[in-house]
Symmetry: C3
Subunit: 447 residues, 3 copies
């Protein structure tokens, strides 16, 4: 039996990192011109704005709150499905997301919002959305590790995950000048492969010792549906939260809505076909129904057309469900890779596909469909990139997808090796998937 | 024991219908001028719009997301109350709503948004709200059938339900020129009577064989409260989502908020009075508290006044609770009509009343209260209807209510007869209300 | 065994009070100029407004709906944690909030929105938010009383709670001219001490007779996390809902988001440190993580800076968790004060601290940071208060905090004495924390 006592390590990590956040926020972070009372008054005058409704807050705050619900309730409750690890699912998700958003505000700020004159980072509502997005990749990684790691390890996963995210995001969005509003590449493909690589390094050959706890029970499956539905419903907000004002946000929401609806039907179809009496499996319904949203993360803001969105959702529902049926068991058997929530099928593969779909849709863009101004607006063909063609853009989008996967795999292996150090208080094999390890559990009720 | 094997029929229906959707979307559906990047840029120029905040997205998206939550979490979790049918409640709701919204975009598009020149349907955020509204009527019908039908039957219920909805909506809103922003008539009265008529045709004389499963248990009642509360909280968004910009949305939200608050108190009062020790019944709290929202579906956008809204909520809370106490048992006994969720008391009757309340409030409108412009704006007295009086409008509102009921009853009987064909894999009497029929259930825990 | 039969008293109270509401709404309450169709058309002309998007509805409705979710799902589900009182937690919360918002619209209307010429109260979306805020203080008080009172008593608590709230709010916001957008003082400190004082007067020396029911169980703890998370996620909306348009709402949301993230980490740290094996306690995670939001209720709209917000969250997470560990047990032992949900640690103390933090931040405001116009806008230094300095403002903020506590303590003692009358149907000591007293419970399942 390993020692899961984290009485010193967990508080130490929490305090040290939180104090570091306070110091760094004090040195670096300030309100931007739309959230600072003096600057906003000046900004309105200098930009000839007559109404407060033009503040970015009113364009993005409703979407931000939807994204916020996805991060904390969506991801959190999706991970309550294990019969005896609901506290860990929703509780550790809460912990690492809360830490991660702070670190993300700093990391993303340094790369994207640092004023070279003052050395300060300016934050506004879009920064909060981006911080939530950033932390999503670490929460995805947690999905592969659910039940097998200690909260201290999860803090490390998040610290490195957010750091890697900020770097790959900078490369993909700024250097390669890709568009990735809903993060098929930067969030899902990266987060998925990051988690898989960590889990591969942390392979536990005798995990079957805790097999009695590795499944769901009736009530925990209903709890998990809360997570599924809030993710599913708010995914249009996720993919439209930081797109262009006006038609950009509008179109991204419509495309995502349509793709998700389509995913549900093909998920149900494949799930039913795979059982000899046609019975549905909650694992599929809870997860593969979301694949359409993941795969639309890049293309949602493009003119992919409504039927294009339907096709994306159609295919990804099928691919994702097949993943749960065949790929996850095979990965465990042959690749020695244990993926508790099946993030391979919900995030890694649909995210990668989403990146390539985005590349194709970008390459196929025409001035006839977008209009000249529309092309410039949609793909930001301005400044250094004013002369880029849509074909080149498509190539860079594909390259960006590969960058995100590479960062995920390499970063995950390195972080996995760090997590093998015997200092993190992780559970022994027969102690996995059990809240008793890290929580005071009242009532001795197993079912 | 009937054969509930749906391994062929369910995937077949899902695939055929989803592929049909892709083809029809490809032929018909396009972005509208506010979600298409080229058209929106041109629209801003041609309409002299200087800010993207004027895009309809920013008027309606927050309400849309609230409505979306009502459809998937609200209706879904409200139907988890049965002790052993929570998967079917929330899961089949998810399936048929996802299919229904796609079919609704087409059906409603053909009737309301077809460009005669191009033969294309234009969609935007208001179309998404209307699709959610449309599918709500089929979800209401599901409430009467909960636990007694197969998912294949539910797909049929939804296919016809959405189709009938689009026709009756066209007649009521376009031909009769009624106002029905929150759908007391077109959604609730129609959906309620549609479900009741189907259930009446599908009467099961020996349903008491599955009586041990036909009730709730402690935890499933708490799950159902999630559905109740999200419906209750977001109903002001439901009734205001597609009303006029400005004071119309504002007023509809206020009226609905007030009516719902009033319903809660009278529901509690009647529920307590009906028990010999004054104990409350969760069935009433979960359902009748919502009656005020249903009944305000037509009148919420009118100048019904705050105390008028209170009175509507007051009465409907009482009527609905009495329905659960007396009418539902009597309908089963004498009418041979089994209504699992009591949609008669929550949707059919309050919806019908809401239609007539709307008629009365419309007929009582005066230029003094609304102002001349306000009357025109509120009742759309423009074009062919420029000379209509409020009294005539009231008459048409009442006529519209009757049309919605007629469509529900007749359509429901026809669909019910179709569902009696022995090809749909529906459960035998002793297999009703049991997730085992259509779901892989882990853990054999009954309580 | 006391008589818990409320078959006459509960319906009587509900009917009498609801009918009183209808009469009073009829006499007093009207739509304001932004929700009345005629007035809004005139308002647009007279104020030279060209777009409906300038209607206050679009500034505040998304925040309103988030607050609404906090009141009904947040508070409601947070109180489902007891193993056998989940119906009472979420159900009575529903009842008293629904009654309270109606009474709040009247009470707050008389004090703040009464037109002296017409004698009418005008309501709009901001009134709905304020009504939700007002009722929050009574729901906080319910937290101290959970499981020990009858629903009739709770109606009395709410009637007086809303009344006292309206008076103290008038004194603090209007007479003392304090700023308190998120209600650290007027909502949390008042509501906390109000509940504690009532609970102190209602002390039950033999409450240990129902000890078997006074804790949580595995599933009820997961249900309670729904409440925690919706409160936590939407707290930025709570603190920004009624702040100034533009940068005011923007900044309040950012500050609250940051403070809450920080609270989570220190709560986890202290919770882990307090257990000999470092295990986390759900009581702390469910409650103390929210302390940062409470404590930012006054200062969130000020220029407290992002790192200032982090520090507030940091300290309040620690203080609140220590409260659960040491203060609540000691209060029961030495002060004879039973506080079921520990509102002392989540609302009373963080609310009081929030009041004083607001005072300090106000006193430290400078023209350099806020700008001249910004100072006037933020602190409303207009009219009678045009010459007030920030230092004076700080003093008044501190005075306001004391007023709120005084109202809570004195009001609570008086209401507690009223509740000791033997006419309210409250449960006997061995009947506390048991839904059987007031609910029809199906399934005899204790776990």
């Amino acid at each position: 039996m390993k020692n899961t006592n984290i009485r010193i390590s967990l508080p130490a990590v929490c305090f040290v990192w939180q104090i570091a956040m306070i110091v760094l926020f004090g040195v670096f972070i300030r309100y931007d011109e739309e959230s600072d009372v003096r600057k906003w008054i000046e900004f309105k005058v200098s930009h000839n704005i007559t109404s407060d409704i033009e503040n970015d807050f009113y364009f993005r705050y409703p979407s931000f709150q939807d994204v916020h619900v996805m991060i904390f309730v969506g991801f959190g409750f999706l991970m309550t499905f294990l019969k005896r690890y609901s506290f860990g699912g929703v509780g550790f998700n809460f912990l690492i997301a809360s830490f991660g958003v702070q670190w993300a505000l700093l990391m993303q700020g340094w790369f994207h919002a640092l004023d070279p004159d003052t050395g300060k980072i300016s934050i506004g509502v879009e920064s909060l959305i981006n911080a939530d997005f950033c932390v999503a990749s670490s929460l995805i990684a947690y999905g592969a590790l659910l039940g097998k790691v200690s909260p201290v390890q999860l803090m490390v996963v998040t610290l490195f995950g957010v750091t890697l995210f900020a770097v790959e995001e900078y490369i993909i969005l700024s250097l390669l000048h890709c568009r990735d509003a809903g993060g098929s590449m930067v969030i899902h493909a990266f987060g998925g492969y990051y988690g898989l690589a960590i889990s591969w390094v942390l392979y536990r050959p005798n995990l079957n010792q805790s097999k009695r706890l590795s499944g769901s029970t009736y009530h925990s499956d209903v709890f998990a549906m809360i997570g599924t539905l809030f993710l599913w419903m708010f995914w249009p907000s996720f993919n439209s939260a930081i797109t262009d004002h006006g038609s950009g946000q509008h179109r991204a929401a419509i495309n995502t809505y349509i793709a998700l609806a389509s995913s549900v039907l093909t998920t149900v179809a494949i799930s039913s076909m795979s059982d000899k009496r046609g019975k549905l499996d909650m694992v599929h319904i809870q997860n593969a129904t979301l694949a359409g949203g993941v795969a639309m993360g890049t293309a949602a803001e493009f003119m992919i057309t409504p039927y294009g969105s339907l096709i994306v959702g159609f295919c990804c529902g099928i691919i994702s469900t097949f993943g749960y049926l065949f790929v996850t068991p095979m990965m465990e058997k042959y690749l020695k890779l244990q993926d508790t929530c099946g993030i391979h099928n919900l995030h890694a593969v649909p995210g990668m596909l989403g990146g390539f779909i985005g590349a194709i849709v970008a390459a196929a863009a025409t001035e006839e469909v977008y209009g000249r101004e529309g092309l410039i607006e949609t793909f930001d063909f301005e400044g250094d990139f004013a002369s880029r063609t849509v074909l080149t853009q498509g190539g860079f989008q594909a390259a960006g997808t590969c960058v995100s996967i590479a960062f995920g795999v390499v970063g995950g292996v390195v972080v996995g090796l760090i997590l093998r150090l015997p200092i993190w208080g992780d559970p022994s094999d027969d102690n996995c998937y059990d809240d008793e390890a890290y929580w005071e559990v009242r009532g001795l009720f197993y079912h």
